[in-house]
Amino acid sequence: MTEKKTMTYYPGCSSQGSGKHLDESLRAVMPEVGIEMEDIEDWNCCGASIGHIGGGQLPNLALTGRNLAQARKRGTQDVITGCAACYLNTHGGNEKIKADVKKKAEVNEALAEAGMSYDGDLKVRHACEVLVNDVGVEAIEKRVTNPLKGLKVAGYVGCQTVRPFAGTEAGGDYDAYDDPTFLDDFTKACGAEAVPFKHKTSCCGGSVAVMSPDRTLHLMKAIVEEAAKQGADVISTPCPLCQTNVEMYQPLINEKFGTDYHIPVVFYSQLMAVAFGMDGEKDAALQRNTIRSEKLEGMAKKK
């Protein structure tokens, strides 16, 4: 980390709901490592994985077009998001607009209805990729004043944070698809212990888990089971949907499989906020987890 950077931040819909603690902790920690974030003015939904079913492919892409047209008002600085689905759609849509002249023309024809346009000259990036490539794990480690000594963390990356873009040039080429190391690197930089975790990129069920938990409870059970087996105090994840699914469905998993899991699922950025010696509530937003980690909360500074 050599210089401070300002990026345009896309919080996404979960930032105002189930993923509020990702948003709050990211806003707290990113400036601490030199990344200032300015919100996209009046942003809209990205369409997630299912927007095209209800709305159609082009209207779904137009959602991204509008967001990027709004982002462009802040200049050509990079767009950054912490949400896996927002990243997948916005980055994927942006690359499509760049590569496909016809699509770009169609998106712009639609945007013109609201007096907007987007030329395809922005770069959309995931917060984790920015932390790896621009900030660097060493700089994160250097900022740590309150190392999370003795905290065992299972690093659960999930799917869309790394797939399908983490290994592509446009995606910053920062890690592998099946065995990424960045999340464990973050854990270690925070002074905690990264336990071996074979389900790091297994799927939680995504939106199928939300609409129909019965179809995917066994996927979430495998993730929680392995974390418990490895003695993890907490599961750490970058993805708001993974966080909510794996946390809120533990009672249902216990009911269905006769288990007794009660493992906190937190964001890497919450761990960082605690390790940076920041406030446990205001910055790390630990009170927003429905399964609380006494151990982590005990480490957090209160201001």
Binding site: S49, I50, C159, S207
Partner: protein
């Protein structure tokens, strides 16, 4: 479960494969599929599908339009993209399944109360109406779209989860969060639909 197969002695009908090539997002790459099965083997809930992606793609080639469009395969895709990064031939499997789901719904193959279709429609309603996803309203609208009784049943079953979210401030009480420029957004979406219909 018996696997549908083309009638004996019937020559392959490529008209459906050609339609997929021209009309499905990523369908132009389908001819690269060499039937290795890396996609089906990588799929987290492939065993719950009527056919894995590999078999579904062969059925497309075999012209089995009805079986393909009424399959639950495309609806069970969780969009994990494992097949996409593992396909040795660069077939964008997830994208193809996602668009097959959209087209199945459009052509009336997802009949009646259909979990995935109804959830997707509730989701889009929120995005297009408010400019944002309101998790509370999407969920409730989805639950009750499955029927009044089913709606109450699911709402009650999720009460505890909802209360936990309210208590931790991850579900708010009151009006939905909204994009201010909703009028412009609606005009953009309407125009995009109109452009798409031209195709």
């Amino acid at each position: 479960m018996t696997t549908p197969a083309p009638a004996a002695g019937k020559t392959y009908d490529l008209s459906f494969a050609r339609w997929v090539r021209d009309n499905i997002n990523g369908g132009d790459k389908l001819n690269l599929c060499m039937q290795c099965g890396a996609c089906s083997g990588s799929c987290p809930i492939g065993v719950q599908m009527d056919y894995g992606p590999r078999k579904l793609f062969m059925m497309i080639r075999a012209g089995m339009k009805e079986e393909v469009l009424s399959a639950n395969t495309q609806w069970n895709c969780t969009s994990c993209y494992r097949c996409v990064v593992r396909c040795p031939r660069g077939v964008p499997v997830t994208y193809i399944l996602q668009d097959l789901a959209a087209k199945s719904a459009e052509f009336g193959y997802a009949k009646g109360p259909h979990e995935n279709k109804n959830f997707a429609q509730s989701f889009w309603w929120s995005a297009a109406t408010f400019g944002r996803t309101d998790e509370r309203l999407v969920t409730m609208r989805y639950f009750f779209s499955l029927g009044l009784g089913e709606g109450f049943k699911r709402a009650m079953a999720n009460l505890k989860v909802a209360l936990g979210m309210v208590k931790t401030g991850r579900m708010h009480i009151g009006l939905p969060h909204m994009t201010k420029g909703r009028k412009g957004l609606k005009a953009i979406l309407a125009k995009a639909r109109e452009i798409e219909a031209r195709h």
